[in-house]
Symmetry: C2
Subunit: 93 residues, 2 copies
């Protein structure tokens, strides 16, 4: 069963699913800067567009274009910045 999630007044939206007991979402981040907290660790893969990302505790943003991934520890968080709508796959690890 698929689940639609919406955050930040609809500027981040995703569709969640589970396969082989693993939770995953695919979604879109609209133009802006947003902070997400993590429960479980996550692997984020950009599939269209580009994100600037600063994991909590890091000094600077780093660019992740389509085709690249980053991981975020559990019970932590990260800032994302998009200058154009960008699509991602998020796997909960």
């Amino acid at each position: 069963m698929l689940q639609h999630n919406t955050y930040f007044d609809g500027k981040v939206q995703s569709v969640g699913f589970e396969r082989n007991g693993r939770r995953t979402t695919v979604g879109v981040i609209d133009v802006g800067e947003f902070h997400f907290g993590t429960g479980a660790p996550e692997r984020m893969t950009v599939v269209s567009g580009e994100l600037g990302v600063r994991v909590d505790g890091a000094a600077a943003f780093q660019a992740y274009p389509a085709g690249t991934s980053f991981e975020v520890p559990g019970n932590s968080g990260f800032d994302v910045r998009a200058s154009a709508p960008t699509a991602y796959v998020c796997e909960f690890l």
Copy 2:
């Protein structure tokens, strides 16, 4: 502005956006078999999971695992078959 789309009683859901004048959606196809019609030509890229696909007029289904793409002509259509929830990026060409 992002747009949530839902089809087939929620068994296919996507989030649509536009970048550089190009419309794109990312979504999930739940377990089942579904037929989609096309207006504009589309490029579908599987980003998590695997789809069986039969473009209208083709004799047989062909497998598209994560990381592969197929294109569908405009004013046509295709059948998709998923044995587990599968995520895709759809670009309107």
